[in-house]
Symmetry: C2
DNA sequence: ACGTTATCTGGGAGCGTTCCCAGGTTCACA
DNA sequence: TGTGAACCTGGGAACGCTCCCAGATAACGT
């Protein structure tokens, strides 16, 4: 069943059917009605491949999450929330989403290669990219259209991205901790090869400086975004008796709470804890955290990408979303 | 850049380039080398739309998750795990995945309509379908190829699906609870309109019957798969003093634990708790549960679908994966 | 009445592949 | 040396759309 068939049944030409389907003007009302009826009756849907072939648009955008298995799910609802946000925006614009998840073990074909190989998408959303990410580099090299969630590895003003002001937000965290009287403020960072994590550390440093507090290297632990890393990080910090810990991500903070509970320390009386991202677990654990609506980041990124694709926005375009410090019982007892 | 361009540069014909790309025989080694070199040098990749147009294959499979926002993430890592499993299988076969997530509010276009509209996928994986699911019905009506994860609403031997033997597994749970001396065994079910939940309840009933225990209607609470529903369900059960609770899903079980903790009851001494699915949270909460590797369900479904698409398997095909009762501290104290 | 313009309709060309067939060469074997 | 099979290569046709142009008809102002 194709345009020609519909045309025959409606007693018009292929072109006219195409006009009706694409809602173009210059079709008389009576003809439009007749064609519509045939289309509905036959449950006709135009072949997307043929359409894509000529328009060079698939109305599909791709999302590539280049993280290993264990990060995607688990405590970490970051990616599901991001996906949900992307899906929302996409639906609104009548696009579809192609999803690639990296695996821990790459059997032969690398993740980047796999993503690059399928070229059906009009554009890509990528996230959690490291400095040396092969996908990132391949995209640039082959001049493919993409938007990053979070800040690009090396600041590059030719890249479009959506992020939050990590540095300023982190600084705000320190302000808060100082305000509630903490002086030995530690931090456990996320992966330093991810720009956001790095920026949060910068904010931490600036916050301490501003408050006139000394920076003790013993109070900085470099880690990753996993709960286990938060746990071990905190155990490493314990001997140095911090009275507050700023975790570079909520999942890390959960690990911190685990370690503190195990050590018999009270939160927030003995140690105040702050996270980042405001994942749904944060509320459940009464965790003070920096909120920036991960879903909103996702939908913003998708909307941006689609606007770029449709030429309604100039490339590159960069968006910094606001953050908000949500104060819960992990820093201020009720 | 297309086949013809490559052909010209390599001094051969379009057809020959096509043969090289598709790794067909009847191409001399020297020509193959020459063409390959040009392809690599130009970083040529064939246009997927054109290819799809003629082959009627996109090498894309779709996954539709028709659940509202709040189920997708949160405590519930079920879907992310499923996706990861699907992604693994898909990667292996060199397919890509199109993902649709339902939203809570449908703005105009329904979820089913949206999924049906995009016809790029060679087949679909659908999950968490209710009795009256419009997507389910539309797929059948329009004769689209699909595989269900979990048992179809009404047993229909024309549908391909992957599931576990929910009834038998649930029965095994009751056997275990009886074996550790429990007599007042309650259950909180998932959504009854989802077949799996219904089957688990059947297994519960059969288990009680087999053990010669009376079935007390007060000990059955009909709910949904959310943590909050587990919590409220348990509060509803408290007056009837059950000594064990079989939750129709791990997320429900978490809610049960919340309510028990709040009521000051000990697990498992006062009340034993069992879940279903063995999500990663189960281990963290030492929850006895029925394990069936959600990831494996996902990869099995994807593999099945691809085999059906490629004609290596007859449609319909139905797979029941094994389950295993994982005993942890929520039923047996150490 | 006649141009001029807006409205409507149809058909050819082309998007970039794969598939099929025809023709040419090479090779094994009688 | 002839003959059939296997091997290799090229070009036309088709997949189902959109885009462009040409032509027909209606509407309008002078």
């Amino acid at each position: 069943m194709n345009l020609e068939d519909i045309a025959r049944k409606a007693g018009v030409s292929r072109s006219t059917v195409s006009r009706v389907i694409n809602n173009e003007k210059y079709v008389s009302e009576s003809v439009r009605q007749r064609v519509m009826q045939v289309i509905q009756q036959e449950r006709f849907q135009p072949n997307p491949a043929a359409r894509t072939l000529v328009t060079r648009r698939s109305n599909i955008i791709g999302t590539a999450i280049s993280q290993t298995t264990n990060v995607f799910f688990g405590d970490n609802s970051y990616y599901p929330m991001l996906l949900q946000g992307i899906a929302e925006a996409i639906n609104k614009k009548n696009y579809a989403m192609l999803l690639w998840l990296a695996e821990s073990r790459d059997d032969g074909v690398s993740f980047a290669e796999r993503v690059m190989r399928h070229r059906q998408a009009d554009g890509l959303i990528i996230t959690s990219v490291r400095d040396d990410d092969p996908l990132f580099n391949a995209l640039i090299q082959q001049d493919r259209r993409f938007v990053m969630v979070e800040t690009p590895p090396k600041w590059n003003d030719r890249i479009s991205f959506v992020t939050v002001d990590n540095e300023r937000a982190a600084e705000g965290v320190i302000d808060h901790l100082v305000a509630i009287g903490r002086r030995r403020i530690a931090t456990i960072t996320g992966l330093m090869s991810i720009r956001d994590a790095y920026d949060r550390l910068q904010g931490y440093t600036r916050g301490l400086h501003k408050a006139g507090l000394p920076q003790d290297p013993n109070l900085i632990v470099y880690g990753g975004f996993h709960r286990a890393e938060g746990y071990h990080g905190m155990r490493q910090l314990l001997p140095f008796q911090p009275d507050a810990v700023f975790a570079g991500g909520d999942t890390i903070a959960l690990g911190v709470l685990d370690a503190l509970a195990e050590a018999g320390l009270r939160v927030p009386e003995d140690v105040a804890v702050v996270g980042f991202d405001d994942l749904d677990v944060a509320e459940r654990h009464s965790l003070t955290t920096v909120s920036h609506s991960v879903q909103r980041v996702g939908s913003t990124a998708a909307t941006l990408l689609i606007d770029l694709i449709e030429g309604q926005l100039e490339h590159p375009h960069q968006i910094v979303l606001p953050t908000e410090l949500v104060i819960r019982r992990s820093t201020v007892a009720v």
